[in-house]
C-alpha cells in the first residue's frame, strides 16, 4: 500500500529539510513549466526527479539551484528564502554550497582535466597551487589520476563525465544537482558515474538532486519524486 506525501508549506518550514520548494510556478510564454511543484531534500539524501520529457524536471532543478527564479512559490536553503538573496549572494551560494553535473559540454575544452576540476576553487578565490593540490587529491580519490594532464577531448565520454563529478564535488558542496548525468553514456559507463557520484556524496553527507528518465539511474537514489505537468507527486511505499 502507498500513501501520498503532498508537500506542503508546513512541511517545507520544518527544519528537517536542507533544501525545499513549495508551490513553485514558472511560465515560459504560453507554457506552464511548473504549476505548483514542491519537494524537500534532506542532508545526504539522493532524490531522483522522474517524469516524461517536458514535465518540468529540469526547470524544477534549476529553481532549486537558484539558477532560475520561479514566478511564484518559495525555495528555501538552510531555512533562507533564495528570493531574498541578491544575485551576487546566489552566485556565491552556487559556487560554495552547490555542485553541478550536466549531460553535455560542461568541461572547458582548452583546460586539462586537472585545471577543470580546480576551476571552481579558483573562481572561489583559492590560489593556483592550493587549488591544483586539492583538485589532484580529488582526482586521485576518484581513481582519475591518470587523466589529470589530459584535455577533455583526449579522454573517453565516461572519464569526462567522472571528471565532471570530481569538479562538482571538489568544493565540498552540500548539494549536487545532476541533470541527466548519464544521458550520453552507455550502460557500463553510466553505472560507473552513478556509483561514483552517489558513493562519494553519501560519504560526504552531500545531498544529490538527480534528474533522470532512466529507472536504472533512479535506482541509485533513496527515493523518487514524479514530475508531471509541472506538478510533483511522491508516493511513500511502506518499505
Amino acid at each position: 500500500m502507498t500513501a501520498d506525501a503532498n508537500f506542503s508549506a508546513e512541511a517545507a518550514s520544518g527544519t528537517d529539510f536542507l533544501l525545499s520548494a513549495t508551490d513553485l510556478h514558472k511560465t515560459y510564454g504560453p507554457t506552464d513549466a511548473l504549476a505548483g511543484a514542491g519537494l524537500g531534500v534532506r542532508a545526504g539524501e539522493v532524490v531522483a526527479l522522474m517524469g516524461p520529457s517536458g514535465a518540468g524536471k529540469s526547470t524544477l532543478l534549476h529553481c532549486l539551484a537558484g539558477i532560475v527564479r520561479p514566478d511564484t512559490g518559495t525555495v528555501r536553503y538552510r531555512g533562507a528564502d533564495l528570493a531574498g538573496l541578491s544575485d551576487r549572494a546566489r552566485s556565491a551560494l552556487r559556487r560554495t554550497d552547490f555542485g553541478f553535473v550536466f549531460q553535455f559540454g560542461q568541461l572547458v575544452p582548452e583546460l586539462t582535466c586537472l585545471e577543470n576540476v580546480a576551476l571552481p576553487l579558483r573562481l572561489g578565490g583559492e590560489r593556483g597551487r592550493a587549488a591544483a593540490k586539492r583538485a589532484r587529491e580529488m582526482l586521485a580519490e576518484l581513481d582519475l589520476a591518470e587523466v589529470a594532464g589530459k584535455r577533455p577531448g583526449e579522454v573517453s565520454g565516461g572519464q569526462g563525465q567522472r571528471v565532471a563529478v570530481a569538479r562538482a564535488l571538489v568544493t565540498g558542496p552540500r548539494v549536487v544537482f545532476a541533470d541527466e548525468p548519464t544521458g550520453a553514456l552507455d550502460s557500463l559507463n553510466g553505472e560507473q558515474v552513478m556509483q561514483m557520484l552517489t558513493t562519494a556524496a553519501r560519504e560526504r553527507d552531500t545531498a544529490v538532486v538527480l534528474v533522470t528518465h532512466e529507472a536504472r539511474v533512479a535506482a541509485y537514489s533513496d527515493r523518487e519524486v514524479i514530475v508531471r505537468d509541472g506538478r510533483t507527486r511522491e508516493l511513500e511505499a511502506t518499505r
Binding site: M1, P52, D222, E224, I226, R228
Partner: protein, 180 residues
Amino acid sequence: MLCIVPSMSIGHTLLGLLETGPRHGYDLKRAYDDRFAHDRRIHYGQIYSTLARLLKQGLVEADGVEVDGGPERKRYAITDAGVADVAEWLSTPEKPEAYLQNTLYTKVVLALLSGRAATDVLDVQRSAHLDAMRELTRRKTGGDLVDQLVCDHALFHLEADLRWLELTAARLGQLAKEIG
C-alpha cells in the same frame, strides 16, 4: 496467444466489469472476451465458478432474473464489499517481477472503465518497481561480478516493465477513448 489475465486475477477482473453495472454470466463472458481474452476465450464454466465464489464471499449478489424469451438468466451486481475489494486490488502494486504487463494492463483498463485514476495504478507500480530496483542496485554494489551480472539481468527486466509502464502512462488518454 495466451489469455492475458492470469487466472488468479479473473475474480477481480469480473468484479471490475460488474462495477460498470449488473450483468448476467453471458454478458460478463462477452465483455471479458472483448477486452482481455484475445485469442483465448474464457470458458463459461470458469465464469460461473468464479461468480459462485464471489457470491459466497459476499462480493457480488443476485440482482434478479432476466427472462427474455429464452432461458432464465441470473443477473449479478457488485456489492459495496466487492467495490472495496476492486479498489484495494487496483491500489496495491503487484510484486515487482518481470512480465507483469498483462496484470497491469488489466488493472489500467478496469481503472479507466470504473472512472478511477489510472495514473494512480501506474504510479503505485512504478514506486514498487523502483524499490525492487534499489534493492538489486544495493546488492550489486556490494557484490562480486557474479552478483552484479545476476542483479543486472533482473534490473534490465524490471526496467523493461517500467518503460512499458511509462509509455502506457503517456497513452492513457488515447486508451480511455478507445475503451470508452
